[in-house]
């Protein structure tokens, strides 16, 4: 019974989250619960704070010295802004995929292993065979294995954009993250690439909690279980995707979905 409750607990919970870039407030009192092992899409016009919210969840924002945050963000039941929290551990649990695919200038194989090697205990030897298995498993998970199995030593930066983006997802998997954050992961891809990556995201659902920002209404509709609509730094509406697109509660949501915003 207890076990089950834990599994149902939301993966990410923010409570009255406010964020300032210097004196400019980008997020206002965000209360958000992201369901575990579901795909949650974040939509809203440009500049409404989607990226900011996403980047708060793995605390990458604070690298900019002038960012100030109040409120709390819990990931898997733990407040990640507690002083004893280690950023390295946060980022192990919370992987991030960027708008532009950014494979490292290494081989495909080394890209997949990068995170794993980073988090490996000092002095622990992992055999080449084990590494091969890790690589194959991750690449299979992102439906890339068959395409690249014969050129694992080739440069990752020479892959097609869509494949690069899949690789960027694959390299997060070997450290077994719980949450995958994706910031418009398809916006640099052509329609075919977009479809392929969407399919993949849908495929990963169930094993990972996915929070994805998208500009593409059709994508949000097709590829998410829940949908969050933001406007001017505020969370306006958060419901099941099918509900949001059929019967939005708020006028602003309806306007945005129907394309009446920029």
């Amino acid at each position: 019974m207890k076990e089950q409750r834990i599994n149902e607990a939301p993966a990410i919970v923010t409570e009255s989250l406010n964020l300032w870039y210097g004196t400019f407030q980008a997020l206002f009192d965000i209360d958000l619960e992201v369901s575990r092992n579901k795909v949650t899409a974040m939509i809203g016009p440009s500049g409404c704070g989607k990226t900011t919210l996403l980047r708060s969840v793995n605390r990458i924002n604070e690298r900019l010295g002038y960012v100030r945050t109040t409120g709390s963000i819990e990931v898997l039941g733990h407040d990640i802004y507690e002083p004893e929290v280690d950023l390295v551990q946060v980022r192990k649990q919370v992987g991030m995929v960027f708008q532009r695919p950014n494979p490292l200038p290494l081989s495909i194989r080394d890209n997949v292993l990068f995170g794993h090697r980073t988090h490996r205990e000092r002095g622990v030897k992992v055999s080449r065979q084990d590494e091969d298995e890790i690589v194959e498993k991750a690449l299979r998970e992102v439906l890339l294995w068959d395409t690249v199995r014969d050129r694992l030593a080739g440069a990752a930066t020479e892959l097609a954009l869509e494949e690069q983006q899949k690789l960027c997802i694959a390299r997060l998997l070997p450290v077994k993250p719980a949450v995958l954050l994706m910031d418009e992961p398809c916006s640099a891809l052509d329609p075919n690439g977009t479809e392929a990556v969407e399919e993949l995201i849908w495929d990963l659902r169930g094993d990972y909690t996915i929070l994805i920002v998208t500009h593409n209404m059709a994508q949000a509709r097709r590829a998410s279980d829940e949908c969050v609509f933001m406007l001017l730094g505020k969370l306006v509406e958060h419901t099941r995707t099918d509900k949001m697109f059929v019967a939005p509660k708020h006028q602003e949501t309806a306007d945005y979905i129907e394309g009446r915003y920029g």
């Binding site: 793995n58 690298r63 950014n102 960027c168």
Partner: protein, 289 residues
Amino acid sequence: MFETTTLNEQNRTVEKLWRTLLLVMTLLLILPVLVILAVLVYKGGPVLSLDFLLTEPTNGMTAGGILPALIGTVWLVSVALLASVPIGVAAALYLSEYAPENWLTRALNLAIINLAGVPSIVHALFGVGAFVLFFRFGTSILAASLTLAVMTLPVVIVATKESLQAVPQAFREACWNMGATRWQTIRKIVLPNSISGILTGVILEVSRTAGETAPIMFTGAAFFLPFLPQGVFDQTMAMSLHLFVVSTQVPDVPEALPYGVALVLIAMVLAMNATSIAFRTYLRGRKKW
């Protein structure tokens, strides 16, 4: 409907004028370099020979070759490189990869820019005070090379920072987001992708000091030493000082000799520059992003 108007024509004339003017300015700029090279080759060419490079000066430096000066300059530049590369690269790594955006960083960057403008004679005096006297290196290759190193540190840092900054920020973000520390990011991604650029840039900057005279004159370079340096605590002759000496300090030097020395000095610097530029071009071509 698409005929030229008078306005079009006027604009075109002005355009042509500017274009020509700018071209002429550019040509004027390289003219001195060409003239210098031509004069050096014309006047100094005749004294050049293998003997000239491989023997010592004789007859009160009015005859013979330049071997000790040549070897001395190689020593000075090499030791200066050894000193300035690690320090300069470390400073640049800090400033580019770690330094937060605050007043200290701004002050450091400002200081580095200003240091680059300190006249070389001031560096020379600093070298005497610091290396020759305070650290008791005496007038030696070590003291002279360290003076050269201090003098080139600002440009070394700037060149290194440029190479580091040429590594796309997206790579760093990718690493940090996978939980890599700054140092892991530097070691695995930033340095491997910039080290060649750093080295070529640094070699380029430091090799320029082969021509410096003031900083080595009081710190380690000698007028005339008929033997080759055996270690960093020896004094040495140097090409730049030798050129100064045979041009102005020694009577009855044949006219061609200083030109020959100058030609070899310039050839040395150009050769180092050319090598590092070629190296850089080659590596740029290989870049994968």
